[in-house]
């Protein structure tokens, strides 16, 4: 049997022996594991099942879209509150608090209440989301860490500064006064500004100064002349002092000549 096998295995010359000839091959069905014929082994190796590469799971391909969490009702409420605050109040100051005491906070609030200034706390997230949608987006970098908002309808900066001086933990970061963003120095300068009436008065006086000067210069000569003539008349009435009169004449002549 082996010899017949070998004969079939070498049909062409030059082929290497592919199999070892077995002296007594076992039958097809054996009790032990029969070594697989080499040809069969090759065939099986070639035709091995290559499973298809599973495509990426659908979750991996699509970008993870974070479910835009619906804002909680509280956040919506706070937002509305903020909106009304920004609309109503002329002065909004942002202050960072480094762990202020409860009693100090109460005292601060009390002092500020006297001037109608209120202290408000809002969560930073809500404030940031609100500000990014509104025109006050430049205030965004202020709201980092623990912040407190101090709002008032009237821009009473001096009083606020005085009250904040007493508590060193509250650090004034910036303020939005009458829709203008101010830094700390800006707030200080604003507090030193005089009131509107004085400024208006100063402006008016400055503008009219020029014109009033011209008017006074134009009137200067006739006014002086009339004053001198009046004095002349007064002096004529009591007595005849010719020296005084001649002096007067010469002085008036000099003035009109000049």
């Amino acid at each position: 049997m082996a010899a017949t096998l070998c004969g079939r295995l070498f049909p062409k010359s030059g082929w290497l022996p592919l199999t070892q000839s077995v002296r007594h091959g076992s039958k097809a069905v054996t009790r032990h594991r029969k070594p697989v014929h080499f040809l069969k082994q090759k065939m099986m190796a070639v035709t091995e099942y290559i499973p298809p590469i599973p495509a990426a799971p659908p979750g991996a391909l699509a970008p993870r879209v974070r479910k835009t969490e619906e804002e909680s009702a509280l956040a919506v409420l706070l937002r509305k509150d903020l909106e009304t605050l920004f609309k109503e109040c002329k002065m909004i100051a942002v202050v960072q608090n480094n762990a202020i005491n409860a009693e100090d906070l109460m005292v601060l609030r009390h002092k500020l209440k006297r001037h109608n200034i209120s202290v408000k706390f809002f969560p930073n997230q809500v404030t940031r989301s609100f500000l990014s949608n509104s025109i006050y987006s430049n205030m965004l970098p202020l709201f980092v860490g623990q912040t407190v908002i101090i709002v008032s309808k009237e821009p009473k900066v001096k009083e606020m500064l005085q009250v904040l001086k007493h508590s060193p933990q509250m650090v004034l970061l910036g303020a939005c006064i009458e829709n203008t963003l101010l830094s700390y120095q800006g707030i200080l300068n604003y507090s030193k500004l005089p009131s509107m009436i004085t400024i208006q008065g100063e402006l008016v006086s400055g503008l009219t100064m020029m014109t009033s000067r011209t008017v006074s210069m134009l009137r200067h000569h006739p006014v002086h002349l009339s004053a001198l003539l009046q004095q002349y008349v007064k002096q004529q009435d009591p007595g005849d002092s010719t020296n005084v009169v001649t002096d007067k004449d010469t002085s008036t002549i000099q003035e009109t000549a000049a």
Partner: protein, 107 residues
């Protein structure tokens, strides 16, 4: 994001001055450092330590200037540092100065 060792111990610190410009974007870590240092716990460790804050608007870097009891000064420029790094730097220096006293107590 508390400090790794709980509260900050400020026993050897005399004065802390923190300067920053709140409108810059790199001040977050400095501000958080200020909050950690100015917290009740930290201040309770040393009532004599003063914490000053200066708010500027000249686009300068945020800096932290710490003066220790023995006169040493630590300047930290916080624009590229994280809060943790600053806190750990401060704590290592504090504990380096302090253990002479602490070791004496323990022993």
């Amino acid at each position: 994001m508390a400090a790794s060792r709980g509260a900050v111990v400020l026993k050897t610190v005399k004065k802390i001055i923190v300067q920053f410009c709140p409108f810059e974007s790199n001040v977050r870590s400095t501000r958080e450092f200020l909050i950690m240092v100015g917290s009740e716990k930290a201040r309770a460790t040393n009532m004599n330590c003063e914490v000053f804050t200066e708010v500027k608007h000249d686009r300068s870097e945020p800096t932290v200037d710490i003066t220790f009891v023995d006169g040493e000064r630590l300047m930290m420029k916080g624009s590229k540092l994280t809060t943790q790094e600053m806190l750990s730097a401060l704590q290592t220096r504090c504990s380096a100065k302090d253990p002479q006293a602490k070791a004496g107590d323990k022993k």
